[in-house]
């Protein structure tokens, strides 16, 4: 039923009044900085020395030829893909086992697997850099037991392996977290649904693929998105494990942006990097949004 126009206008006004605080906060803390980032990405702006001049797309041109940026971007992509496989994949397997496989001591297993997330990333990094250190850590001995030898400089000391080492440690820390989210999703699947499936001749692994996975689809997508965002934001783990080394082998976008802004004082270039970063995040967000709506 159509409302009289006066009511309509009054509704609009009261709606705006209610929305105003949120909109002001959003504007001040998200929209303005965002626009500023876009604006500054077009400047050569250096904190030390006070240089600030408009350079158009020069920063982006420089970025295209920046070797370290390329390494960082590829590392983030590796991080994203492998983290999804390891964290969400392993998380799914563990959650499925705890949901319907294991019958006893579930809480104990769940707690143990979840525990690493409670440890600060700095401590996790220190722990694993000690474990993986070829002079101090026990990895050499462990590998020796199965007839392998670690690279001379350790897993994190070889540019070809180092990023995988970091990804592994990330997975060690976050798989339990993913498992708990996925497990919560799985436990929302009613027992009757599984019983109905059993009556229909579907149980065990088949039930996992035909019932569990499709039912918690949105949870899985959310986990994947969390992991991908985490992989693109990763910074602390790299910092404590390898500090981006050896050489630039484990450089990632976040640390590179940070260094450009706060160590080299190149605010303009750091903003240009941030714009690219934002674009990537936007694309992933869009993909997730599209998938989850169905």
């Amino acid at each position: 039923m159509a409302q009289p126009p006066t009511h309509h206008r009054r509704d609009t006004i009261s709606a705006l009044t209610l929305l105003a605080p949120a909109m002001i906060l959003f504007g001040a803390f998200i929209l303005l900085p965002l626009m500023q980032t876009f604006a500054w990405s077009l400047y050569r702006y250096e904190v030390f020395g006070g240089v600030k001049e408009f350079v158009g797309l020069d920063n982006f041109a420089k970025l295209a030829g920046d070797e370290v940026f390329g390494i960082a971007l590829i590392n983030n992509l590796k991080f994203a893909v492998l983290s999804v496989v390891l964290q969400v994949g392993m998380g799914l397997v563990l959650a499925a086992l705890l949901d319907r496989g294991v019958r006893r001591f579930k809480v104990v297993y769940r707690t143990i697997i979840f525990a690493p997330i409670l440890v600060s990333t700095a401590a996790v990094g220190l722990l694993w850099s000690l474990i993986l250190n070829p002079s101090i850590g026990p990895v050499d001995d462990w590998l020796g037991l199965i007839g392998l030898s670690a690279p001379r400089n350790g897993l994190l000391g070889e540019p070809a392996f180092a990023i995988y080492g970091v990804i592994f440690v990330g997975a060690w820390q976050y798989t339990g977290f993913m498992m708990v989210i996925l497990l919560a999703g799985m436990q929302n699947v009613p027992e009757e649904t599984y019983e109905a499936a059993r009556m229909d001749g579907c149980k065990g692994l088949r039930a996992f693929f035909h019932i569990t996975l499709p039912t918690i689809r949105n949870v899985i997508i959310t986990c994947c998105l969390l992991t991908v965002i985490g992989a693109f934001k990763v910074f602390d783990l790299v910092y404590v494990l390898t500090n981006g080394g050896p050489g630039n082998a484990t450089e990632v976008l976040a640390s590179y942006i940070f260094r450009n802004a706060f160590e080299f004082g190149q605010i303009g270039y750091a903003n240009a990097l941030s714009v690219v970063f934002l674009a990537i995040a936007f694309v992933f967000g869009l993909i997730q949004f599209r998938m989850i709506r169905r």
């Binding site: 009613p190 009757e192 649904t193 499936a197 059993r198 009556m199 229909d200 001749g201 579907c202 035909h210």
Partner: protein, 372 residues
Amino acid sequence: MSELSINGLRKSYGATEVLHGLDLEVSGNEFVVFVGPSGCGKSTFLRSIAGLETISGGSMTIDGADISGLEPDRRGVAMVFQNYALYPHMTVAQNMGFALRMAHVPKAEIARKVREVAEILQLEPYLDRRPMDLSGGQRQRVAIGRAIVREPKVFLFDEPLSNLDADLRAHMRLEIIKLHRHQKGISIYVTHDQVEAMTMADKIVVMRDGNIEQVGSPLDLYNEPVNRFVAGFLGTPRMNFLDATSTGVANWRLGLKVGGMTLSPPIRPDADALPEAGAPLSLGVRPDGWRIVAEGDGLAGRVVHAEQLGRETVVFIELEHGPQVAMIQPGQYRLHSDDAIWLAPAPDELHLFDASDAALPVARIPRTNSHN
């Protein structure tokens, strides 16, 4: 024609036995209803037949073949769950065809069967919808459709109507009965609602504490309950029970003292082991078994409340020497609270139970003929 035969079925959870050796024979196209209070084991019994519970002892056969060790999908049974248990990520058609897909039935065949069943259940317009886009009644029909598609010998229903509102429930009751007639085969239906049991069943199985109390047609059970539990469970309002004392047997009649009233109902000729004089008994009278009598002729009481239903009147009466009882009188009686009233059971309407709650063989004229 299928035959389900259950012998000595037992089920334990750890040390606790919940089904104590159940026997049941069902044949032909019977619609069997398991009824009993919650916790009586009726659902466990049903789930044991379905294969969702592993049994601890006894055997189950369908058409002579032992099914007790088989996976649920190999038993020739299908089940309709209380909460429908539809697969939320599948369309109606996919839900209904899932069992066939799992059995690797060719796609065209699945589509044909699903369409056939959808037609019966008038689900054709909804085949491409997801369960969340359907009403409760539609979901229920999909759940039934999913069972029918598999063409089972035995349909199992686990309280399927308990989530529906009263109108829809009455409607679906009829639908299920019609479907049962149409499909042939055995249906086993679990409910705690004795109205559902009475209205739907060819055969009612009354259960209590993991035992079968009585098996029979609804009227057999209503008219000749084997014990006080069955007598009290079927019928609304419930049967009234009054304390009575035996005064001994004479001339095929059992003398009784109830409050200030004496009764001497006839005993069936086949009766043995009758109560001696002085034995405590329980007199059961259904609400429609009371007669209003002249002052001083029966049991004195006062009206607590009268429910005027138009076609009949339900009166709750506080007896002077006994409990509160319910009485149904056909027609309209203008009774008020605190009105004095005198009652007596109609001679053909009384049930007697001994100290162990077993029914005594009171001779009665078949009730179906005596109804006015």
